[in-house]
């Protein structure tokens, strides 16, 4: 009983409302909406997740329902696109009543409903704009319907056979009809409706629309007999089996029958009988013709009742190489104007075909079946996906309408060059091209105009890009190499997803732990810290290119690669001439380095982080939550400089040819960090400073001094110029000074009135003397001719290196005056500041009244300040020998390729970054002169100690410049003591360090220092650096200092001007300190240093004294020593003499509830009886040393931790501990290893301290040799054995 009144609406009502509506309230559960056929998707693609997921787009709303049952009545008709005056030009069914006509689609289609009045009980409606004039129209999705009036008699002649009959004329398929006009078979595939221009003699030309259908027929004698039709009446499932539908025939539905398209397309795979056909030979092209069956005016189509979907068996094994198949899935997204459709969230349907039209009901949320679609597995390295490529044989129909309020996607076909180009590609390349278009749009949104991005104006970025790859990619079968140009936001998302993947995969994870993170938690200051996990991805490996501009991040002060979507930290060595407005390309030689802490279970919520998908690129939806991992790009230095090279942009050389004139040579000695307090407030950005030394050499580039003469040589003429050069050089070996002017004029350097003439040979010869005799050059100003090559400039110029100091005394080992200069950079010149590297040489052009000229040659005091403006061009400079040029192939265009350095060398060179490749200007001088020049530059390089008295003036507080650790300064709050020094080493570990925990000890135990008070309050980082095989700790305060990108484990870093703390091996960053990252071992993607360093030095902290590393001695020999002196003994624990254990909470230092504190007890000190075979001794140590002796490796804690972390029990591996005592017992079992102990005999002060404490505990001091341990480490058996062999050899020799 209907309680509510049913409303009857007209179509024009709906169209006028122009709102999406649903009227499905008449649907009752007893009547299923539509029965989903279980289409089997190819197993290869694991489509087993048949539970159709509803689109998870949170913005999608369900359709607004009407409150009451609402009926629509009208007539369903075939499409009317061939009717000229119809506004609707599509292949949909039409639904019309008196008021209007709109497109529609029907779920349970019945042939009898055509041209009959029906009433629609459940439907969805969408407004549409129709045609070019934008007429308001709509689209009706008919969910359930009824005939308005009782249905008439069935007029089909073959009603026994057919469930469906569609005829143009009368249905009169008779027994014994001519078999030529009959086709009995299975519909295999169907083409879209196309319009063919057709010439028909007298009436001129008219267009014929039509579509082609492939029907597979059987060739048995029964099918070709004239009794076929009568036999068909008795057709059963049983006797269909005897037919083999294998021969292809083409049926052309043209003219009026072209309207049958929506009907025929529903019956792909069905068995049909077609009558009333004519055979015709159709010319496809000039030479080719094809036999076709063309529909006549008497055509009729019968669909067999049974066997629907039976005939076609697509069991071909789908490998993803373009095979045809069918697929059913839920539409989850439309992108790129409907050209890309996303199904089931990870399958991509490409609807780029010009002719293919899809029903309007193909909307997000609808379940669709695709027939004859190409399955392509693109094997892109950056993401796994399945592409379904639609082409002219593909048909799409809707199995179930979408309940969501999602609009129709009318495909717009543009005939742009880009569209044509995309259509010419294969499916994988097509998707790639569309992704790239999308990426470029996102990356340069608001930066470049759409036309500049996509083309038609100066070709456009995109076309240029595509054309490049077209030649290498599009014609090949595999597209795995196609690189994606990822927007940076997507790149970060990609990192997070791959990070998650690594950790997600349990097996992988254990593997992963095994290879990169089976580090023990770092033990430092009595606490243990979990160590981070690092993962390195090579950009070539993931086939991703990243483009952007380089900028300083206003929040972190670091260099970032930025595009419209975001930014990522980048670590690279920029050419000094880099134009910061240029687009930078990350393609070759880049690594993506991710570092984070082992995650907790909660972090691994897989719903948040999705792998790189087409969805994430096409749409702007990215996860809002960011993982707590640090991600940065790292440029690996190789023997080829790819930084300014582009894979696809044809940049006109960013050449910075040297003008002629005079240039000063500067050696950068220090960079003062950008102060953090200024970085936060952009308005208050401060100037930046760097310190340099003006070298006593100027570079005079010829030209200004020889205007009349052509003084640059192109590479083609390099040989000639080299000849001249060398001839000149050789000549001077025998020539006299008097001849100089003649020679000089030969190559145009001699121009009367200028200062370059004359002195050349004199300088050369005198200079040679200086080199060979190792004496100081005197009396002659040094002048040295050279060839100069600028990066990107394909020619060389001549120049002269001129010593500025009249009384120059340059020789190997001579001391030169230091002309220091402070370089000041305005806030706008961050880039100039950024590109400068400490320890490199730079060229700065001389200007009138140049400060660089007038700096006094005072050793100590003179300090001049030079403001570097945006007009100041700074170029990096490297010296090379001219012989290397000669020996190499001169035809090689770019001179820097000639430097003979293998990539291995570059990688291993550490600080010695191959400056020849990475410099902007190369100056070629004779080999003999090279040595001297290197000496000149090296005098200042790496000798920071000499600087320090000067530096202290800047620092302010008076700091005692004593390097010796003062053990007597254990007063309550001592000030730091020591020098500012420069340290270079391998960063082995970092850990959080809140002020109090850094090197603090509960009691002033010998050898330990306190952290100065002024650092308290802010969190910091303690960096463990391996310097010359010993680990030092450097404390950095995060709130005050800037940290370079890449400062992390396995980086070779130089810490400039850090403060030596009064304790041992402890240093501290100061406001003037600067960190440079020289190299990182991560570049190769493997972590080779793990085993070598981490265990020996970090797990067991090895802290020998900085001054001397004692050789291993025997205890029996140590007994003979009279005074405390550092020593090393290799021994094993025999017994624990005393182990003082106290509750951790009783001391202030361990009050913090740091989760990584291993247990509730602490060991303030302990004594162990040790034995090395020669004698015994008692070794004393504090908690860390004691832990090391006992072999406390916080493995148990790791296991416990990770068991909690990953939600699985590892109890089988690590024994659960019952109590602290049993834990201690376990610990005591483990002291069997041979360890090497560094330490010294106890001095009287320490002895009395020990005695006092032991007396408190009522324990006597053992009657043994007492040694205070400063380090405990594993024994390198091999090294020890070598030492002993050598020692024994000496002994034998003595004998």
């Amino acid at each position: 009983m209907e309680e509510e009144k049913t409303i009857v609406l007209t179509i024009s009502d709906l169209v006028q409302r122009a709102r999406p509506l649903t009227a499905a309230s008449s649907l009752v559960p007893s009547r299923p909406i539509s029965i989903l056929k279980t289409h089997k998707n190819p197993d290869d693609y694991h489509r087993q997740k048949h539970s159709f997921r509803i689109c998870q787009d949170p913005n999608a709303k369900t359709l607004k329902p009407l409150n009451q049952p609402t009926l629509l009545t009208g007539t369903l008709t075939l499409p009317s696109f061939s009717v000229r005056d119809s506004p609707i030009k599509c292949n949909c069914f039409q639904f019309s009543n008196d008021s209007a006509t709109i497109c529609c689609d029907v779920l349970d289609f019945d042939s009898k409903m055509i041209d009959r009045k029906i009433q629609i009980r459940a439907w969805n409606f969408f407004p549409l704009k129709c045609g070019s004039r934008g007429v308001n129209s709509g689209f009706l999705e008919i969910i359930s319907w009824d005939f308005f009036e009782a249905c008439g008699e069935n007029v089909c002649y073959l009603s026994d056979f057919s469930s469906f009959c569609l005829t143009l004329g009368a249905c009169d398929a008779k027994d014994g009809s001519k078999t030529s006009g009959l086709i009995f078979g299975v519909i295999e595939l169907i083409s879209p409706v196309t319009i063919v221009p057709c010439a028909t003699g007298e009436t001129g030309s008219r267009n014929v629309s039509g579509f082609l259908v492939n029907v597979l027929v059987c060739q048995c004698k029964f099918c070709s007999s004239k009794f076929l039709v009568s036999e068909l009446k008795d057709l059963t499932e049983e006797n269909v089996k005897y037919h083999c539908f294998s021969k292809k025939v083409i049926v052309y539905f043209c003219g009026l029958t072209s309207l049958w398209y929506p009907v025929v397309s529903r019956f792909i795979g069905s068995i049909v009988l077609l009558t009333g056909l004519k055979r015709k030979l159709v010319f496809i092209s000039n030479e080719e013709s094809q036999l076709m069956h063309v529909t006549t005016d008497e055509v009729s189509l019968h669909i067999a009742k049974l066997f629907k979907g039976r005939g076609l068996i697509h069991d071909t094994h789908i490998r993803g190489k373009g095979e045809c198949g069918s697929y059913t899935g839920v539409i989850t997204g439309f992108y790129m104007q409907g050209m890309v459709v996303e199904l089931d969230e990870d399958v991509v349907l490409l609807l780029t075909d010009q002719h293919l039209t899809v029903p309007h009901s193909v909307r997000v949320g609808a379940i669709v079946t695709l027939k004859n679609v190409h399955f392509v597995d693109p094997k892109f390295r950056w993401g796994k996906m399945l592409i379904l490529g639609a082409c002219c044989i593909t048909s799409v129909y809707v199995e179930s309408f979408s309940p969501l309020e999602t609009g129709c996607h009318l495909k717009l076909h543009s005939q742009s060059l880009l569209q044509k180009f995309i259509d010419s590609l294969s499916f994988a390349a097509r998707l790639w091209a569309l992704l790239v278009v999308s990426c470029f749009r996102k990356k340069f949104a608001g930066i470049l105009s759409e036309k500049e991005i996509l083309g038609s104006k100066h070709q456009g970025v995109l076309l240029e890009f595509c054309k490049h790859n077209l030649c290498c990619g599009a014609k090949e079968a595999h597209y795995g190499h196609l690189r994606l140009v990822l927007p940076i936001a997507n790149l970060i998302n990609y990192c997070e997803a791959s990070w998650k993947n690594i950790l997600d995969d349990q097996e992988n994870f254990s593997d992963f732990l095994g290879c990169t993170t089976s580090r023990k938690p770092l033990s430092c200051g009595g606490r243990s810290y979990m160590q981070s996990i690092i993962r390195v991805l090579r950009t070539e490996e993931i086939c991703v290119i990243v483009l952007g501009t380089l900028k300083m991040s206003s929040s972190s002060g670091r260099l970032q690669l930025v595009d419209a979507t975001g930014g990522v930290d980048i670590m690279l060595d920029l050419p000094a001439t880099w134009d910061f407005d240029r687009i930078f390309e990350v393609a070759k030689d880049f690594r993506l380095i991710m570092e984070g802490m082992p995650p907790k279970l909660v972090d691994l919520d897989s719903t948040i982080y999705r792998p790189l998908s087409c969805r994430s690129i096409f749409s702007n939806v990215l996860p809002l939550t960011r993982m707590k991992i640090s991600t940065y790009l790292y440029h690996c230095k190789t023997d080829e400089d790819s930084r300014s090279r582009s894979l696809f942009f044809d940049w006109e050389g960013n050449s910075q040819e040297l003008d002629s004139g005079k240039f000063h040579l500067l050696m950068l000695t220090h960079k003062f960090p950008v102060q953090k307090k200024f970085r936060k407030d952009l308005g208050k950005r401060s100037n930046m400073f760097a310190q340099a030394i003006v070298l006593p050499l100027d570079l005079l580039v010829a030209g200004k001094y020889g205007d009349a003469v052509m003084n640059t040589v192109t590479s083609g003429h390099l040989m000639d110029s080299l000849e001249i050069f060398t001839r000149h050089e050789k000549h001077h070996k025998r020539s006299k000074i008097e001849q100089t002017s003649v020679e000089a004029s030969a190559y145009g350097l001699n121009d009367g009135g200028n200062g370059l003439s004359g002195q050349f040979s004199a300088s050369c010869s005198s200079y040679r003397n200086s080199c060979t005799e190792h004496t100081c050059v005197s009396n002659h100003p040094l002048e040295l001719s050279c060839l100069i090559a600028s990066k990107g400039v394909n020619c060389y110029c001549m120049g002269v290196l001129h010593c500025t100091n009249e009384n120059a005394k340059i020789s190997c080992g001579c001391k030169l005056p230091r002309k220091k200069v402070l370089l000041e950079f305005g806030p706008d010149n961050f880039c100039k500041y950024e590109v400068l590297k400490i320890g490199r040489c730079y060229l700065v052009k001389h200007q009138e009244d140049d400060m660089l000229c007038s700096i006094k040659e005072n050793y100590q005091v003179s300090r001049a300040k030079v403001y570097i403006s945006s007009e100041t061009h700074i170029r990096s400079l490297a010296f090379s020998s001219i012989e290397s040029l000669q020996s190499s192939d001169v035809s090689d265009v770019f001179p820097f390729h000639n430097s003979q350095i293998s990539s291995d060398e570059v990688i291993s060179s550490g600080n010695g970054i191959d400056s020849k490749i990475y410099s902007d200007v190369s100056v070629f001088v004779p080999y003999s002169a090279l040595n001297l020049l290197e000496n000149v530059t090296k005098i200042w390089d790496g000798s920071p100690f000499e600087e320090e008295p000067d530096v202290h003036d800047h620092v302010g507080p008076v700091i005692n410049a004593s390097m010796q650790s003062s053990r007597t300064s254990c007063s309550d709050y001592p000030l730091p003591e020591g020098n500012l020094i420069t340290l270079r080493g391998l960063v082995v570990a970092l850990h959080d360090c809140s002020g109090d925990a850094f090197p603090a000890q509960p009691k002033p135990i010998i050898g330990e220092g306190y952290l100065p008070m002024f650092l308290e309050g802010n969190g910091g980082v303690c960096v463990h650096v391996l310097v010359d095989n010993r680990t030092v700790r450097i404390f950095c305060d995060l709130s005050k200092q800037t940290y370079p990108v890449g400062l992390g484990r396995d980086a070779y870093a130089t810490f400039h001007r850090i403060l030596v703390l009064s304790g041992q091996n402890k240093y501290m960053m100061m406001p003037v300190s600067f960190i440079t990252i020289d190299d990182t071992s991560l570049m190769n993607g493997n972590l080779a240093y793990e085993s070598n360093y981490a265990y020996g030095t970090v797990g067991l902290i090895s802290v020998p004294t900085p001054n001397a590393i004692a050789t291993t001695t025997l205890i029996s020999d140590a007994l003979q020593l009279s005074e405390p002196k550092p020593m090393q003994i290799r021994c094993r624990v025999v017994a624990v003499y005393i182990l003082v254990v106290e509750k951790a909470r009783t001391t202030a230092v361990f009050q913090s509830s740091e989760p990584s504190i291993p247990s509730t007890f602490r060991i303030p000190f302990a004594g162990f009886v040790m034995d090395d075979g020669s004698s015994s001794c008692c070794v004393w140590g504090d908690s860390e040393r004691a832990a090391a002796f006992l072999g406390i490796e916080p493995k148990e804690y790791l296991l416990k931790d990770s068991a909690e972390t990953f939600g699985r029990s590892k109890a089988s591996k690590g024994q659960p501990y019952r109590s602290n005592i049993s834990h201690l017992n376990q610990i005591l079992e483990k002291h069997g290893r041979v360890v090497t102990i560094g330490g010294s005999l106890m001095d009287p002060k320490a002895s009395s301290w020990l005695e006092e404490h032991l007396t408190e505990l009522d324990v006597a001091v053992p009657p043994l040799l007492n040694i205070w341990a400063t380090s405990v480490s594993h024994t390198d058996m091999l090294a020890e054995a070598r030492d002993i062999i050598q020692e024994l050899n000496i002994i034998t020799a003595d004998i």
């Binding site: 004698s1175 069997g1232 290893r1233 058996m1277 054995a1281 002993i1284 024994l1288």
Partner: protein, 161 residues
Amino acid sequence: MQALYNTHVKLLAFDFLALSPNPKDLSSFSRKGTPLSRAESVGVVVTRDLKPGKFLRFTIDDGTGCIPCVLWLNQLTSSYFSKRNPSGVRLNAQMALKFASEIQLGVVARVRGRITGYRGLVQITVSDVVLETDPNAQVLHWLDCVRLARKCYGKFCKSCS
């Protein structure tokens, strides 16, 4: 001279097997007149004979000879331990069991213990065992033995001086 008495001397097997029992005190042995009581050896375990709950007998071959070793496993049953602190004895027993499980044929073990005599032969009554995984450990042990014999044990040698 007593300096070596409580030290675990590192002796090669041929040297160890030549130790002679002290005629006055059968529990101590001497090498060239130097009294010794403890020794350390590194070598491959070549024989293994387990009497559960009683002892494990095994032999260590260091390349110069084979040193017989015994590891007692009777801490929980023997009356010898009954007067000691039970928790300590339990710990000892646990550790002995652990050592026994580690001593398998073919492993390279570092053993320490007291020098004792059994049926006229010198042996080590093992107090602790460490398995060596570094192949250089054996070489280093040989060199240690040679060096100690020359530099250290010789000094205390009566007959030498």
